[in-house]
Every structure is written in structure tokens, then in C-alpha cells.
């Protein structure tokens, strides 16, 4: 496992930013960390980057305890902050020099080539760069460090659609070139299915889903049938969300076991639909036999 957390909790005075978060992330994956604003994504990434210390619980990266003083471990982790806090009055060349002087495994050729490919002049001042260019410079530093784990906090936020698409494409390419694990926080769900293969959903400071994306897509279904049929939800299915029209009712369910069609119209939901159902965090109902039980157990 590249990341393992155990009952990880972070409180800022009275506000709980992350609550008893336990998760494991396998190596070599591009992981999406999805959640609405304030759900704890940034807090989790900062804890993983060694910028912050947990209030309670444990956090390990590559099997080692991550802490604010563990410089050796931090050298294996690249971090892109959501604010891209680069030195405004420095030239891009100087930012890369900063990276070279502070990272023993620095790949200068990679950083220069990456920025040259994007037509970013190394003599430009950081303050004169566009949001997209600034993100690319920060990303170049992040990957030129040759990290084994890359943490990206909203890498495509505040970018226009073209810049956003380019950046995500670059991340995919960089991931392929570097063989690093990537954990990318985003509230743009569309980005997830484009480049990620593992997903963690945070809602209200808690982890509500942490699974392989393919498995998530395979284990959820949209079940529809007429409103008046009165047929209960199949056994082993947990209802995450429901939509009603005058004639039809549709459930988004998580399947605990293979189900029979039994008159249901079954469709594959998009990741968007699944993620939104988890993010709404409605009380879930699970069917253990032929009736719907209204327990509020977490589906994840």
C-alpha cells in the first residue's frame, strides 16, 4: 500500500476537518479524491504531504509514519497545493533552480522539456504567468522531484476548459512516464473517470467510498420499474438514491451479490451519478430479504 490511514482525525479548534478517516491506497494508481468543498480533501492531502499533523489517528506513506519532520519520506512525495503558492517575483528558471537545490533526485531535463513543450518561457516572471501556466510550472516541479507519490490538490481548478483538458492530459502522461502513484483531489467529478482508476469519496469529513473505479462502476446499478408494481428492491442491494416520476421509480443501488432481473430494467450508472449519490449522503436502505430495511448503515 502506498497510503494507509487509521482513524485519522484532524480538528481545527472546534471544527472537525477530517473524522476517523481509515483508508488504504494501493501502489501505482491514479486515485481521485472526490468530495464537495469543505469535505476534508485538502486537509487529507496536507496531512499526507507532511504539512500538517493529525489530531488523532495514524498516517503512513510507503509503510512509514508521515510527520512534519520526516524529510526522507517527504522527498518521495510531490505535492501541488491548490493555491499554487510559487514565488511571484521569481523567474520560472529560478523556481526550477529552487527545485534542483532542494531535491537530490531532481530531473532538470524533464522539467525543462516539459515546460518547453508547453511554450512556457523560463525567463518569465511567475506573476506574469496565466493560471494554467502557473499550474504547469508547479506540476513540473512536482514531477521533476521524481516522487513515488504525487499529491495534487485541485490541479485543474480555475482553468478554462482547454487548459483544464491539457493539464489533465499532462498528468496522465506524467504518470505514465514516472510510474508514480497519484492522489488527486477534485470536486470536478468529470475529471475522475477521464484519468483515474481508483476513487475515494469524502463527505462531511468522512470517507464514504474507497475502491477501484472499475469495481465501483461494476457494483452499482440503476434499477427501474413502474411505480405501482410494489416489488421490493432485490436482496443484498443497498439503495443509495432514488428518483421518481409519475410512472416510474428508479433506484441507484449498490449490489452486494448478483441479482436476478425479476422485472427490473437494469442500467449502468455513470460515475457522476454514483458519486453524486454518495455525496448527497442520504440515509441508505438495504434489502436483506424481500423487504426494504431502513437501517442507516454505511454502504461503504
Amino acid at each position: 500500500m502506498v497510503i494507509e490511514t487509521e482513524a485519522l482525525t484532524k480538528r481545527f479548534r472546534r471544527r472537525t476537518a477530517l473524522s476517523e478517516c481509515s483508508l488504504s491506497v494501493p501502489r501505482g494508481r491514479v486515485v481521485a479524491l472526490v468530495g464537495p468543498n469543505g469535505s476534508g480533501k485538502t486537509t487529507l492531502l496536507r496531512l499526507l504531504a507532511g504539512l500538517s499533523r493529525p489530531t488523532e489517528g495514524r498516517i503512513s506513506v510507503f509503510g512509514e509514519e508521515m510527520s512534519m519532520s520526516n524529510t526522507d519520506l517527504r522527498s518521495r512525495v510531490g505535492y501541488l497545493d491548490q493555491d499554487r503558492p510559487l514565488y511571484e517575483r521569481w523567474r520560472v528558471r529560478e523556481i526550477l533552480e529552487f527545485g534542483r537545490r532542494t531535491n537530490p533526485a531532481w530531473d532538470a531535463d524533464f522539467a525543462a522539456q516539459h515546460l518547453a513543450r508547453l511554450d512556457i518561457d523560463l525567463e518569465s516572471l511567475v506573476k506574469n504567468l496565466s493560471g494554467g501556466q502557473r499550474a504547469q510550472v508547479a506540476l513540473a516541479v512536482c514531477f521533476a522531484k521524481r516522487p513515488d507519490l504525487v499529491l495534487l490538490d485541485e490541479p485543474a481548478s480555475a482553468l478554462d476548459p482547454v487548459a483544464r483538458q491539457d493539464l489533465l492530459q499532462n498528468i496522465t502522461e506524467l504518470f505514465a512516464d514516472n510510474e508514480a502513484s497519484v492522489l488527486m483531489a477534485t470536486h470536478a467529478i468529470d475529471d475522475v473517470s477521464a484519468i483515474c482508476d481508483y476513487v475515494i469519496i469524502l463527505s462531511k469529513s468522512r470517507v464514504v467510498l474507497s475502491e477501484d473505479l472499475d469495481y465501483v462502476l461494476e457494483s452499482h446499478r440503476l434499477l427501474s420499474r413502474g411505480v405501482d408494481d410494489g416489488v421490493p428492491v432485490p436482496r443484498g442491494a443497498t439503495v443509495l438514491d432514488e428518483r421518481r416520476t409519475t410512472r416510474e421509480i428508479t433506484y441507484l443501488v449498490r449490489l452486494g451479490m448478483p441479482m436476478e432481473r425479476d422485472g427490473w430494467r437494469i442500467e449502468r450508472p455513470t460515475f457522476n451519478e454514483i458519486a453524486i449519490a454518495y455525496l448527497r449522503d442520504r440515509p441508505r436502505t438495504s434489502s436483506t430479504s424481500s423487504a426494504i430495511n431502513h437501517d442507516e448503515s454505511s454502504a461503504s
Partner: protein, 347 residues
């Protein structure tokens, strides 16, 4: 890391160095001019006479006017000398830490493969180095200027701080104060404001409450009869070597019991003084001789003598050394506190 710390501080360092150079340049030019005019005035033909004298033309009067005109700039130079150290310390201290935390660039720096301790050591170390580079020449020139214009009052409030190496130590101390406040407050504006308050508090309280305790003062006892032999208790007059050496820092001169062990305090002398003066006043004072007689009688009756408590000018550099070491020690402790906070900051 040194390159990074230099790259980060270079604009402010160059600006402060330029400012110090301007102050140094002006001080040197004015100091040379004043020194030259003063030497001329004190030498022949004027020999210290400050007015036009028959046979000497108007040279002496002109020199006096020139010196008076030049002296108008003295307070500005003193203020510049007193302000430059805290200014350099505060600016570099706020830049080194508060600025980075406020702008959140520490999130970038602290996620590279360097420890916070190393990052802090490079920034604080280089900042301290530049403070020394900027303030040592400033202190040397200020100290020279002070002598060049004939100012021998080394312990004066406006002189002491610029006439020795304490100017450098004070700059380093304020730098450490600003580092600590920057690590605690994490906002440049408030850090500057809080540092300015600390600077004012230290500048006001230190000379009056701490400095005088850094060296043991000299206690000079004298009989009242000495006074009648033409000596004077007036501070700073070189023609009164029997009582107080010239340019000493006098804490007080009063009447105290001869049996006092160690350094008498001013409050100790107040009580006995009132009794002795009441005694003297009971005698008739028709002539100076009557007064002397009354004084001697009363001094004898109460077993008191005149006492002067002071720090002689020969102790100036000892005082500077001790005060400077005190500032440096406090600065090191404060910098250690700043490092402890830096290791705990969650940006």
C-alpha cells in the same frame, strides 16, 4: 539553501544596504567637515574662541557659524543611527518568516526534500549575516563620527546606542524578535507592528532599568571640606578629577552614611540627606566659613560623607560588550523559540 535564502532576500537586502550606504556617506561627509572645522577652531589662531577677535579676522566667528550650521544635522544622524539597526532587523526578520507564511510559499518550500530546520537555519543565518554586513560599517562610521564632532558624552541616550558595537547586537536582537513574532503572528503587517512595539519598549526600558546593572558602578566618597577646596561635583567637567572622571555616567551624587556597605541606593541617601540639611540649617550662615563649619559639624554628627555613584568612561566598552552579549544571548534564545514554532506551523 544559501542561494535560495539570498534569492529571497536580495531585493530587501540591497535596498537596506543602499540606505545604510547613504547614511554612512552623509555621516562621513558631515563628520569630516565638522572635524576639520572643529580642529581649526580649537587650534591657532582661534584656540577655542568662538567669536571674531581683533587681529584674527572673522575666521573664528565663521568657523563657529559653520559648526553651528553643521550641528543642525547631528540629531538627524543620531536618529538615523538609532533607527537603522531596528529597521534592518525588523525588515529582514519579517521577510524571512512572516512574509513566507502569509503568502503561503512555505507550502511550496516545506514540501521539497529539505527539513524545516535547515530552511530556517539558512534564512535566519543569512539574514543575520547581512545584518552584520550592513551594520558593522554603520557602527564604525557612527562611532568615528561621534568622536569626530567632539562628542565625549558616550553614555548619553542618543550617543550610547550608536557609539559602539551594540548597534550591531541590537539589530540582531530585533531580527530574532521579529522572527519569533513572525512565527507566532504569521502576518507581515502585524509582525512589523508588534516588533515596533517591542523595539520601543526595549529602547525605553533597557537604558533606564537594565543597563546600569550590567557593570558595578564606582562609588566615590569625599569629605565636605573637599568641596570647599574648589573641586566641583558637576558631572563631565574634566577639571574636577578629584570627584568624577570626565564623561562618566553619574547615577546620583548625594549624602550617605560612611558605614554603607557596597553601593548606596538613592532612596537610602534621601532620608539621611533631609536630616543633614535640617541640621545645617539650624546653624547661622553669615559667612562661607559659617556654612563650612555647620556642614562639617553635621556631617560628623550623622557620620555621613558626600558620595557619587557613577560608571566611568573607561567602562564604556565593558558595558557595550556585556550589553551586546546580553542582546545576542536573548536573540539566540528567541531564534530558538522561532525555530520551535516553525517546526510546529501548519501552513
Amino acid at each position: 539553501m544559501i542561494w535560495i535564502a539570498w534569492r529571497f532576500q536580495r531585493t530587501v537586502v540591497c535596498t537596506l544596504a543602499l540606505l545604510a550606504l547613504v547614511i554612512i556617506g552623509i555621516t562621513i561627509v558631515l563628520g569630516f567637515a565638522q572635524h576639520h572645522d572643529l580642529a581649526q577652531l580649537m587650534g591657532p589662531p582661534c584656540r577655542g574662541l568662538q567669536v571674531a577677535t581683533p587681529g584674527r579676522g572673522d575666521l573664528c566667528g565663521q568657523l563657529t557659524v559653520k559648526l553651528d550650521n553643521a550641528a543642525m544635522f547631528d540629531p538627524y544622524i543620531r536618529v538615523a543611527g538609532l533607527v537603522v539597526a531596528p529597521l534592518v532587523g525588523v525588515m529582514l526578520g519579517a521577510l524571512a518568516l512572516a512574509s513566507e507564511v502569509e503568502r503561503r510559499t512555505v507550502r511550496f518550500a516545506w514540501t521539497q526534500s529539505i527539513s524545516r530546520t535547515r530552511w530556517f537555519a539558512a534564512k535566519a543565518g543569512l539574514g543575520a549575516f547581512f545584518i552584520v554586513i550592513i551594520l558593522v560599517p554603520t557602527a564604525l562610521v557612527m562611532s568615528w563620527w561621534n568622536g569626530a564632532i567632539g562628542n565625549t558624552d558616550l553614555f548619553g541616550r542618543a550617543t550610547y546606542g550608536i557609539a559602539g558595537w551594540d548597534l550591531v547586537a541590537y539589530g540582531l536582537f530585533i531580527f530574532a524578535v521579529t522572527l519569533l513574532l513572525g512565527a507566532a503572528i504569521r502576518h507581515v503587517g502585524w509582525t512589523l507592528a508588534a516588533s515596533a512595539v517591542v523595539f520601543l519598549v526595549v529602547a525605553v526600558t533597557f537604558p533606564s532599568s537594565v543597563r546600569q546593572h550590567l557593570v558595578t558602578p564606582t562609588v566615590q566618597w569625599s569629605q565636605p571640606s573637599d568641596k570647599t577646596q574648589g573641586n566641583s561635583l558637576v558631572y563631565g567637567e574634566s577639571e574636577s578629577p578629584g570627584f568624577i572622571p570626565a564623561n562618566a555616567w553619574v547615577f546620583f551624587s548625594a549624602i550617605a552614611p560612611r558605614s554603607t556597605v557596597g553601593v548606596p541606593t538613592y532612596s537610602q541617601t534621601e532620608v539621611i540627606s533631609s536630616k543633614v540639611y535640617a541640621c545645617i540649617n539650624r546653624y547661622p550662615h553669615k559667612t562661607q566659613s559659617d556654612t563650612n563649619h555647620a556642614t562639617n559639624k553635621c556631617y560628623e554628627k550623622y557620620g555621613v560623607e558626600n558620595v557619587v555613584v557613577y560608571i566611568p568612561s573607561s567602562q564604556f566598552w565593558t558595558l557595550q560588550l556585556r550589553e551586546g552579549l546580553l542582546y545576542l544571548s536573548a536573540g539566540l534564545v528567541l531564534a530558538g523559540g522561532a525555530l520551535a514554532l516553525v517546526r510546529r506551523i501548519e501552513p
